[in-house]
């Protein structure tokens, strides 16, 4: 954890963390923070400009844009985070089993992962939504289904590396149980890797899931969601382009914050970058970048 | 006659402000071999690269380096490039990574020869074959058609020595040329290095942390520690009477190993 102190010296990382925490808190306490009901239609206030009562103005149905942005944090960011946590957990369980026990379990589980990964993620997500029908929960299920295999692979590689370490062998020799070894010796050291890969997936997931909502496959009206707000704004963009501004800025800000945060986290947690901070980070970074392509933009 | 004279060489890392090599001065007489010893990170490699102006741009060098009486920092890039290989040549630590992994070795050798000589293709080929054969590589034609990963570390080291035979440089910098090898191959490569010196009569800077090797090949020894030269003199005098504590520590810790190795090499040499 002392490594995390490096983050404190990085102003961009600190700003990112503040933005992320602020967003999350706003999302959780949306009903207390939002000035209005996000779904309250008021035709008298259609396209109303910024005012003291409605800080960011009103949309085509006269709804409070600020409140919609705040409520939109829930599906656009919080639920995405939840889906991420679930897929990382599944990936971790499978990755740990495969990497630690090796042998047949490993081969079998990795074959399944290979098959999952041979589908293009985006198309797989569309297929699952096609089967289950439109809706945010189905998109989240789709994302968990396509993402876990990827996490499982990375976590397995990381676990394998440590499971072969001498101190783990020693612990086995003196008769410690598997669970004890995992909890005491493997989870703490692989935690850094897990943190880095999950943080680097957040932004692409936020972009993709908002993209699905933008296409009308995700959150259904009138619930507020950033991607959908952009879609609604697009329909009137020739006359009122300023409506694109608020949700657009919100997404860009949050995605950039997560990007900076994950880069900083990686530099802070990666032992090879401890001494030569600016030097090449080699294969690992490349793999991570490859991940970003795999989980392409929506 | 002095071929190389270094005065007050200091290397600074501009980013962190660390001094990596501090005010080091030494010189090298024509035809002799100077060994630089010291643990890793003591600035040996940085010093060597500075002699060829090969350090990364982020490193700031001060002091003067006179090669054959000329200040190397005054050469244009092109002049410097013409000197590299033809006049100052470097043998790298790990031959396996020193060659472009995606082309066959012959490509590099021919390019290097073409850079410095106006030989016809046939003549280049002939010279390279001769050089590879004389470092005891059989089937030189085949060797040149191999990718680096298909050959062994010892063979790659010989290929680098062979290229030196072709280019006939005046100064060879051998940067830990045997560190990556096993004991027997080390011995063979050391023999090739000695023979190389005899043949082309070059001067040599031999970097190593293995004092046994140093004793075998070098005339003078320079010991570096944390970027500073702590000991300097002829090999025999340093070994007999080290002035610095660090040097005597190095010598004593290596003694057991050295003895064994020297006896091994000595006995083999007489055969």
């Amino acid at each position: 954890m002392t490594r995390l102190k490096h983050l404190r010296n990085d102003p961009l990382a600190m700003i990112s963390i503040v933005i992320i925490l602020f967003t999350i808190i706003c999302g959780i306490f949306a009903p207390y923070i939002a000035p209005h009901d996000p779904e309250e239609v008021n035709m008298n206030l259609r396209y109303a400009p910024l005012s003291w009562e409605y800080l960011l103005g009103n949309d085509h149905l006269g709804r409070c844009i600020l409140s919609r942005i705040i409520y939109g944090i829930r599906p656009s960011v919080l639920w995405v985070l939840a889906a991420l946590v679930v897929s990382v957990l599944i990936g971790a369980v499978i990755g740990f089993t495969a990497g630690y026990f090796r042998g047949k379990a490993d081969t079998f589980l990795m074959r399944i992962c290979d098959i999952m990964l041979s589908f293009p993620g985006y198309v797989m997500a569309l297929a699952i939504i096609g089967v289950l029908g439109v809706g945010l929960e189905n998109i989240l299920i789709a994302f968990i289904t396509i993402k876990w295999a990827w996490f499982a692979r990375i976590i397995r590689t990381s676990v394998r590396q440590f499971a072969e370490a001498d101190y783990v062998r020693y612990a086995k020799t003196i008769g410690k149980g598997h669970i004890e070894i995992m909890v005491k010796h493997i989870i703490p050291v692989t935690f850094a890797d897990i943190a880095v890969i999950s943080s680097s997936s957040i932004s692409s997931m936020i972009l993709q899931i908002s993209g699905f909502s933008f296409l009308g496959l995700g959150v259904q009206a009138p619930t507020a969601e950033w991607g959908m707000m952009l879609n609604e704004a697009r329909e009137v963009m020739f006359t009122r382009p300023e409506l694109l501004l608020a949700p657009g800025v919100a997404i860009i800000l949050v995605v950039m914050a997560f990007n900076f945060f994950s880069d900083a986290l990686q530099i802070a947690l990666d032992p090879s970058t401890q001494e030569k901070k600016k030097n090449v980070k080699g294969n690992y970074l490349l793999k991570r970048r490859l991940n970003r392509h795999e989980s392409t933009q929506a | 006659m002095t071929i190389l004279k270094v005065t007050g060489l200091t290397i600074l890392d501009e980013r962190t402000g660390d001094t990596l090599v501090k005010d080091s001065s030494f010189q090298l007489k024509k035809g002799t071999c100077l060994a630089i010893a010291g643990e890793s990170g003591s600035g040996k490699s940085l010093t060597c690269r500075a002699l060829m102006r090969l350090n990364q741009p982020g490193l700031k060098e001060t002091g003067t380096i006179l090669f054959k009486g000329e200040d190397i920092s005054l050469f244009t890039k092109k002049e410097m490039r013409k000197k590299r290989g033809r006049e100052i040549y470097m043998i790298m630590q790990n031959g396996m990574t020193a060659f472009d992994p995606s082309s066959v070795i012959g490509v590099h050798l021919k390019q290097a020869a073409a850079e410095h000589f106006d030989w016809s293709a046939e003549e280049t080929e002939r010279k390279l074959h001769w050089a590879l054969e004389s470092v005891l590589l059989k089937n030189p034609g085949e060797v040149m058609n191999h990718y680096p990963h298909q050959l062994s570390g010892g063979m790659m080291q010989r290929v680098m020595i062979a290229l030196a035979l072709v280019l006939e440089p005046d100064l060879i910098i051998a940067d830990e040329p045997t560190t990556a090898l096993d004991a027997i191959t080390q011995y063979e490569v050391m023999n090739e290095l000695s023979r190389l010196r005899e043949r082309i009569g070059c001067s040599m800077i031999f970097v190593s942390h293995d004092l046994a090797m140093v004793r075998k090949i070098a005339d003078e020894l320079l010991v570096m520690k944390e970027g500073e030269i702590v000991e300097c003199g002829t090999v025999e005098s340093v070994f007999r009477k080290p002035k610095n504590d660090y040097t005597s520590y190095l010598i004593s810790t290596r003694q057991a190993l050295s003895d064994h190795f020297t006896s091994l090499m000595g006995s083999r040499e007489q055969c």
């Binding site: 392409t296 933009q297 | 020193a98 590099h108």
Partner: protein, 310 residues
């Protein structure tokens, strides 16, 4: 080398089978009864149990599962993906032209993505840490944080409406390619150029560069080597870019009203037109697997070290 190619292609065959099987199973997992979807789509007012049975029989759904699968697979190999539940047209008649349109967009975009990634990556690597490198990276950082649909919308608003330079939709002219291709290029080149850049930079610090310089080789020769070695990494990434772009043109197609598989699949998902979704998934997944194999083969051609694996 030929042996490697054959083996690599052979490995793809079981993967294709598994993919087709998963696709088939997935569509049968749907909580909605296909027979019901068909009847609803045909506008049948009252759906009786008898009618459902009859439709099921027509769809061949009363037969054993594996036989249904084999049958379906066999017809798929003949490009017969069944008929659309909604319009009753053969799926291929709808999907074929759309797939062709998407392919055109994908190939043009992929070419631009590769071109710009290499260009920017090489320039930034050679100017590492300088103003140009910093600004290109900064701008790309911002642009890749922007959802591509927002970028697309802004581009339509600015170039097509404000400046009236390009058409906003359709595949009619070369001009109609410019905006969608630009959006895809910005989204992907912004990511891929970093791969080229970091690969170049890590190669620039390798021993062979130092040794090449120590032998007095021309900078031009050395740069060519660095380029060659770093593009090896990049090429496998680029080969994967084609199927990935193919699979994710959905958003761009929808914004620019491009009549491709992306638009079609979204429409089909909303109307629950399973045969089209199924065919779409199968087609793109197969393309994905084939391009994957292709990238490995290409990699083996360039990189001799890989050939010994497998």
């Amino acid at each position: 080398m030929v042996r490697y190619m054959i083996r690599r292609l052979l490995i793809s065959i079981p993967v294709l089978f598994i993919i087709s099987f998963i696709t088939f199973v997935l569509m049968n997992l749907s909580p909605m009864d296909p027979a019901k979807v068909v009847l609803q789509a045909q506008g049948v007012p009252v759906i009786t149990g008898e009618l459902m049975e009859q439709t099921r029989e027509e769809l061949g759904m009363d037969r054993p599962f594996l036989i249904q699968y084999a049958d379906w697979l066999w017809s798929c190999l003949h490009l017969d993906f069944g008929t659309s539940f909604v319009t009753g047209q053969p799926v291929w008649a709808l999907l074929g032209p759309a797939f062709f349109n998407t392919l055109k967009l994908t190939l043009v975009s992929s070419f631009m993505v590769v071109l710009f990634s290499i260009l920017l990556g090489v320039i930034c690597a050679l100017r590492e840490g300088k103003a140009l490198d910093q600004s290109v990276r900064g701008i790309s950082f911002f642009l890749t944080a922007m959802p591509s649909y927002l970028l697309a919308s802004l581009m339509i608003w600015y170039f097509a409406v404000k400046l009236d330079l390009f058409p906003t939709n359709g595949t009619g002219s070369i001009g109609s390619y410019i905006l969608p291709v630009t959006v895809i290029t910005i989204s992907y080149a912004g990511i891929y150029f970093r791969v080229v850049r970091s690969s170049m930079i890590s190669n620039m610090r390798k021993d062979y560069v130092m040794y090449g310089r120590a032998c007095g080789l021309k900078e031009r020769h050395i740069t060519m080597r660095i380029l060659r070695n770093s593009l090896q990494v990049a090429i496998s990434v680029f080969c994967m870019a084609i199927p990935i772009i193919l699979g994710s043109t959905v958003v761009v197609e929808n914004v620019f009203a491009w009549p491709g598989v992306g638009s079609l699949s979204v429409k089909s998902i909303v109307s629950r037109d399973f045969p089209i979704i199924q065919a779409y998934v199968l087609l793109v997944a197969a393309a994905f697997v084939l391009f994957n194999a292709l990238s490995d083969i290409l990699n083996a051609v360039i990189n001799p070290m890989v050939r010994n694996d497998l």
